[in-house]
Symmetry: C2
Subunit: 320 residues, 2 copies
Amino acid sequence: MDISEDALLVAIRKVLSGAGPEVRVGVGDDAAVVAPGTGDLVLTTDALVEGSHFTLATSTARDLGYKAIVVAVSDVAAMAASPRYALCALTLSGSVDAAWVMELFGGMREACDEYALWLVGGNLARGSEVTVAITAVGEAAPGRARTRDGARPGDVLVVTGALGAAAAGLRLATVPPRAPNADERAASARLARPVARVGEAGVLARHGATAMIDISDGLTLDLSRLCAASGVGARLELEAVPVAPAATQAEALGGGEDYELLVTLPGDAAVTGAADELREAFGVSLTRIGVIIEEGLVAVSSDDDESPLEPTGWDHFRDA
Amino acid sequence: MDISEDALLVAIRKVLSGAGPEVRVGVGDDAAVVAPGTGDLVLTTDALVEGSHFTLATSTARDLGYKAIVVAVSDVAAMAASPRYALCALTLSGSVDAAWVMELFGGMREACDEYALWLVGGNLARGSEVTVAITAVGEAAPGRARTRDGARPGDVLVVTGALGAAAAGLRLATVPPRAPNADERAASARLARPVARVGEAGVLARHGATAMIDISDGLTLDLSRLCAASGVGARLELEAVPVAPAATQAEALGGGEDYELLVTLPGDAAVTGAADELREAFGVSLTRIGVIIEEGLVAVSSDDDESPLEPTGWDHFRDA
């Protein structure tokens, strides 16, 4: 590093200056101190690791900082909670300099501004690869956080937006097209700067969502997790799954990092009501892709053929 | 890894089973949900990185898990707050297997039991080196958290326990003695399993502590940080600094990872009162090592010679 740790901390603090009245002690002390809200506390942590989630060659520092915050915020959203605070445990390698770190924090600041949370603390360490571990703290009305385990047979399975864009973006980064079209550029942008469905989750909770999860590791894998947690099964209508313009159906079913919400709602009236509100308030679609059943994961094809659904998606420990 | 991510998560959850009534949703959902306390929230994050803070050859998984929690708890203690919850963002390399990970979480669980906090969430990722990033959430009575910035000229500078043990332990790990004596074994144990001064910090706060920091990067470096934050200077009496039995004076002054508390108190009466209570309640010594002055860092030797104090200690970005 071309700067001492303490000098870097001073520079970082400038990028982060400004915090609401509820932040009593921000970055710079042993810990941050914030005034408590009146709701339940929602706590989550997530990490982006060089080589596994990004490379320095293909990600800008600013996009990486932005994405690290959004990924953690998405987990708060998936509980139907509002993000409030973030902390960053950063491991830096010899491949990055102080300017890169400033850009990284600039990207975090951008995302924090957009999602209305404060970066109140962090830690710097040195390693052989860059890791950005973000903890997000959110708030939910007491007892109103939505979990994965409330889905019941008969509930309707819905998904926000379209799936597969991030996976398509990853494919396009590996084999870049000579002249990417608008859909392909959008897919690449979605990979670099994902969207966390914070407001959307609130709408879905108000319409009675029984279970909620963000699709970070792939639709079928995250569906299998929701079903396992709820002790239920699901019939997934393959042709109903909304596929992002540049993506393939396989990418929509198994691609991770879309951060769309997979939600169960208690009936078609709730789906219609939530879909109308999401379209009007956020311009975001809500698509019915199946139904919760007693047990088993079943894939239904366009000609009503049924076959067992094998979850595919991102397992961090699958041998590469 | 010899096991899938989901199977590993199931195993981890078993190690962590059991949580207080204030934990509404623990490990396993997108985020944890906990009931808020009545106090201010204290938030901190810290990471142990392979190669930088430990090696797999010299640290057991159990000690590493234990230490990772204690290091974060120490930051909560240094705010005079009580630890409540922890989250763990874990990066695993191909060098460790599921049994190692279980031992790591076993060590975290041990430390969480000892310091009365709950590990409520986490994240698993894969990388080329192991990183254990812990976020600790604590609670302090509203407005009563102690920061680094309250030291005033005339305040007395005190330190808990003795310093340099962890640095001595690190030296002994590098060049192991053929037959380590009791002091050397204690130093090695202190490096592997540090102590966070949670209860002690509460006593010091009640006796009017004006500023508080845990000595993680070395006495002189952390003293310089406390002084910079408070806008004051300090006279440090070198001979007064309590040196751990196996350590050298240089290790006591510049060695990191002791996690003792460096505190300013508003006068000698407060020092005597706090020292008595710490000895009785915890068997921990409190030593007067200097005084806060208007500006400058001054080292005073045994024959009252004064010289500028150059902070030495752990800068993560100093070229190795």
